[in-house]
């Protein structure tokens, strides 16, 4: 990847970085902020390459991708590039102390050093505070890049010391359109475009059988919770849990449910072009007739609450049981 690739999706970011490189005026700390799949990590890696590359093109500022430094940055073997990402749910104390040590040492090969902290919001306040000093008065040849999807979770004191670059997602419609051009069915394209901002990831999803099956199951579940034909609770034990057996899988499932509800809301608002489950429009319309906007937003907050419980390590089954009951409860009141 080069800056011209980055510019396709992140025009502003690419321009700011190339200008800074050209004038040799890189900030000492950057905050790359934006939703998942917008190329933040690739941009950090690219910036590191441009910083260390030995045979960089002086006009285009593109790193050569071929010299020892460029290659070692991609393979993770460059000794003066320190790349930290959360080990599990948080950035561990040991990782922070290693980071502090690296900040206080000079480089291995030269005095240039480059730091990348992925998911910087997952640092404890104490860890973040201990980094402040280094971000505030770094040695002149040190550059730090903090990456986060949730900039508001970072300490203000950190944010104020970084130059913030915002990575914008491609509009959903645009991703879906590109997918359809690749011979992917529209319903699947729309759903994967809703789940991710990364076009490559979206393509992967579309070719993933798990993803298609998950979509079917969620449609079945949503039919069940709003109608009286078959019991959704039985259905989640039979089919749902075996399929959504891990936290991240269930998290995607909950997103699907959220899109379903959003679709019903879109029908209420007569905004049909935004509908994700485009092939289920009859069922959606039917459900829209049966429920008020208030009920739908109530259900959406139930789903958001379930997502929160999921990230707090609550048992998967109990999260879903409670959610299904609340989704059903809403419609029963309506009757």
């Amino acid at each position: 990847m080069g800056f011209h690739d980055l510019a396709k999706q992140q025009k502003t970011v690419s321009r700011i970085l190339t200008n800074a490189l050209r004038r040799d005026q890189l900030a000492h700390a950057y905050l790359f902020e934006g939703p998942k799949g917008t190329g933040k990590r690739q941009a950090a890696s690219l910036l590191a390459q441009a910083y260390f590359c030995q045979t960089k093109n002086d006009d285009t500022i593109e790193p050569c991708q071929e010299c020892v430094n460029c290659r070692r940055i991609l393979s993770g073997n460059h000794p003066d590039l320190v790349w930290v990402k959360p080990d599990g749910k948080s950035i561990k104390k040991e990782q922070v102390s290693n980071l502090l040590k690296e900040f206080s040492y000079r480089g291995v090969e030269s005095i240039r050093k480059f730091f990348v902290i992925e998911e910087a919001d997952k640092m404890t306040a104490q860890a973040a505070n201990s980094l402040l000093k280094f971000i505030e008065e770094p040695s002149p040849q040190t550059i730090a890049v903090l990456i986060t999807e949730q900039a508001h979770k970072l300490l203000d004191t950190i944010v104020s010391r970084c130059q913030t670059l915002t990575f914008i997602p491609l509009p959903e419609a645009q991703i879906a359109e590109q997918l359809v051009q690749q011979n992917i069915s529209e319903p699947l394209a729309k759903l994967s475009a809703a789940v991710t901002n990364d076009i490559d990831e979206a393509v992967d999803y579309c070719h993933d059988e798990w993803f298609a099956k998950a979509r079917q199951l969620v449609i079945q579940l949503m039919e069940g919770t709003m109608g009286q034909s078959h019991s959704p609770l039985l259905m989640i034990y039979d089919q749902f849990f075996p399929h959504f057996d891990e936290v991240h899988k269930l998290d995607i499932g909950l997103d699907f449910i959220l899109y379903w509800l959003r679709d019903i809301l879109a029908i209420h608002l007569e905004n049909e072009k935004d509908i994700v489950f485009i092939d289920q429009i009859d069922i959606l319309k039917n459900q829209a007739l049966k429920s008020s906007m208030q009920q739908i937003t109530g259900k959406m907050s139930a789903v958001l609450a379930a997502k929160k419980r999921l990230s707090a390590n609550v048992n998967l089954q109990s999260v879903m049981e409670q959610l299904v009951l609340r989704l059903q409860g809403g419609s029963h009141h309506a009757v």
Binding site: G76, N77, F103, S104, Y105, R106, V108, E109, S110, I111
Partner: protein, 394 residues
Amino acid sequence: MQDVMNSNNHDTALAMKFSITKDKLVENVNHVMKAVSSKTTIPILTGIKITASHDGITLTGSNSDISIKSFIPLEENDEEYATIEKTGSVVLQARVFSDIVKKLPSEFVNIEVDSRLITRITSGSSEFNLNGLDAEEYPRLPLIEEGNVLHVRTDLLKHVIRQTGFAVSTSETRPVLTGVNWNIQNGNLNCVATDSHRLASRTISIDADENAEYKNIVIPGKSLNELSKILDDSSGEWVEIVITESQILFKTKHLQFYSRLLDGNYPDTNRLIPTESKTDIILSTKALLQAIDRASLLAKEERNNVVKFRTLEDSIEISSQSAELGRVFENVELQSLEGEELKISFSAKYMIDALSRIESQEIRISFTGAMRPFLIRPVEDEGILMLILPVRTY
């Protein structure tokens, strides 16, 4: 199947080939293994880099903080160690490689690498095929410019490390204090370490270019400790020192020890050292050390390990007490006492640390009052200076 794979092996070009005596290989692998850590975040550093060149074989191990290069010449003192058939280099998984070479059956080892970096290690009737890594991925250690080389005798360097390294800070709050600050000027090397409660300084004259001047070279205390372990005690040998912008290199005959330097400005320690004194005493190093050691038996039961110190007419009284255990008094004879009477308290540990690193028979201690830091120096000044901050108790 086996045959097909073998014939494939022959098709690929040879990237490196040499044979070496097992003992020499094991000895040198052991040297570089001291720098290899399993807890590294850089994958390639789990390996040892092996380079065969026309004059010998070089092994390199590193944990990025320190790196050790070990050189095996083709022959030395009429003994043949290695023969090179094809020069080249490869990186092999360190732990596995070192275990393998130790257990090889024969006196000789052949190592052969093909262009896909498959490494064949044969010895006697045993054959290992290891997957090698690309040596290009390995960190490049700074190149040595022959111009700016300093020379220090090995035993002297070890002394200097022993006399300063103990005083570095172990707290990460001020990282630069975890190192020893080296300054080189006018053919003198001055080393200072402090944890802000005590300070140790040693100056020696070194064999360097008159104009060689280096300031603020802060070497991590941990690295110096490792270096000291590696340096051979047989005195008389010289260590060559090369300083680059990011690393310092210590070079002995066949070993090269690299350490990264600490970043940041070392505080100016000269202004901490008092220039005048109000009370000066001269006494036997050993007598004082032993007395403090005894007093510390009770003092260390208390949390802070503090001993009290009081001047009498021609001796000093050292005392300490533990609320639970009891108390101890001891008088130590003085050679001389000049200036005011004094009562002072200090950490027994700091005093023992400092005294045990002074080899001279007699020391001079200069106080400037009970609240000010005091200086310990050998009577025949050898460029050693220890400074300790007192504790408020009297």
